[in-house]
Point group: C2
Chain length 243, copies 2
């Protein structure tokens, strides 16, 4: 029988980007103990890895639900991904679409690996819920972000680890505007400001230009997506709390 | 429509152990081009990684089907596994059973990771078939070696990579005696001798003692399994070609 009083724990895949930051806030609102995991794989926007430390440090002040709940951070060296990738995300090529129609930032099965590594850590830490910010609505075309993939992978992981882990995807069916709205619902203006200031999305790693939606070159696909989502949210709309 | 004349390619997870060596021979009998992949993760029996090079070099002489078919070898650095493992396979602890009943050489989901990395390489290399020596009959208790796990993982990988890769498990339902028989069926005494001489199973990495079944301490669980299988095969039996 389920023990409803038992402490519930979660491990959040936290990259330092906007989506995973909202996922971290989402998890802190639901679970008694929340740990984070990040992956260092020589990505061009290493700055994501730097902002993630700052974000975690400032989180309790900006978001009281984090107090007493935010646990350890795990950072795994996945530089091995560079050995099986020659894409824009890890080298200096242009960000563009390749012939297959997939973004050439595509590392085949990258999220399968991230989630399986996270599951191994969760298993060792006795954590049941794994939270990831993957989403079908950002039009990135990554097949390893799709709901079918995640659900099939949960089955494979639980069979392979003889476990009952749960892969949670709170952003799967919402767009970037709704992600900003979720942040506001969870933590009000304080959390939104922290996400603007201390998360990073820009593919070029640009932290020199400040916009109302955060730092970035303002023209790469990641900046476009983040800016457009912020704009749609800021302009208000049904069920959206504008700033 | 299937093009039956198209060259068929395979990627074999080749550790340098007996099982994966037989899988390599099996693949070379069926596919026009066969590449291999190995994982360096700080395992105590690193000697496996050393013998795999020797085995590949001697394979064409011992096994004519390898000629013109044996392609590239890929060696991936998975030292990151050490960070999520504190088990006997990577440290100096005793080889024994832990409380859960799983061998304490268990790295949660290790084969999920190996197969997903292999799938990423196969995707990049345009290879369709991935061959692994996992098996339900060696009583190791590893849940990530089970048939259900492999089949669920194939679905997750193909959804996540938008691919049609096939995970092949030629040893899934046969025991160690039948694995020796398979080697003999494929390549006769020459291949059996190469497997005896240039593959490695012993957990202690012992290459000083030579037995009729190969090198090893002769007393660890891996040696026990290998020796008992060889003995049962050598003593003959239904459908078994003894040496």
């Amino acid at each position: 029988m389920l023990d409803y009083a038992a402490p519930m724990s979660a491990l959040v895949l936290f990259s330092g980007g906007q989506d995973s930051a909202v996922c971290l806030a989402w998890a802190l609102a639901r679970f008694d103990r929340v740990e984070t995991v990040g992956f260092d794989y020589g990505q061009r926007h290493r700055v994501e890895l730097e902002v993630r430390t700052a974000f975690r440090e400032k989180l309790v002040a900006a978001y009281p639900r984090a107090e007493g709940r935010l646990g350890e951070d795990h950072l795994l060296d996945l530089s091995v991904l560079g050995a099986i990738s020659d894409t824009a995300l890890t080298r200096d090529a242009e960000i563009a679409m390749i012939a297959s129609g997939l973004p050439n930032t595509f590392v085949p099965g990258r999220n399968l690996l991230f989630l399986t590594f996270a599951a191994a850590i969760a298993y060792r830490r006795g954590i049941k819920h794994i939270v990831t910010g993957v989403c079908e609505t950002d039009y990135s075309g990554y097949p390893d972000c799709r709901d079918d993939t995640i659900k099939a992978l949960q089955v494979a992981i639980n069979l392979g680890m003889e476990s009952r882990l749960v892969l949670e995807t709170p952003l799967m069916w919402i767009d970037k505007a709704a992600t900003w709205a979720m942040a506001h619902d969870l933590g009000g203006r304080g959390l939104v400001e922290l996400i603007v200031e201390d998360t990073h999305s820009c593919y070029l790693g640009d932290r020199s230009k400040r916009h109302d939606w955060g730092y970035g070159c303002g023209t790469c696909p990641a900046c476009d997506l983040r800016a457009a989502g912020y704009r749609r949210w800021a302009e208000g709309g049904p069920n959206r709390a504008a700033p």
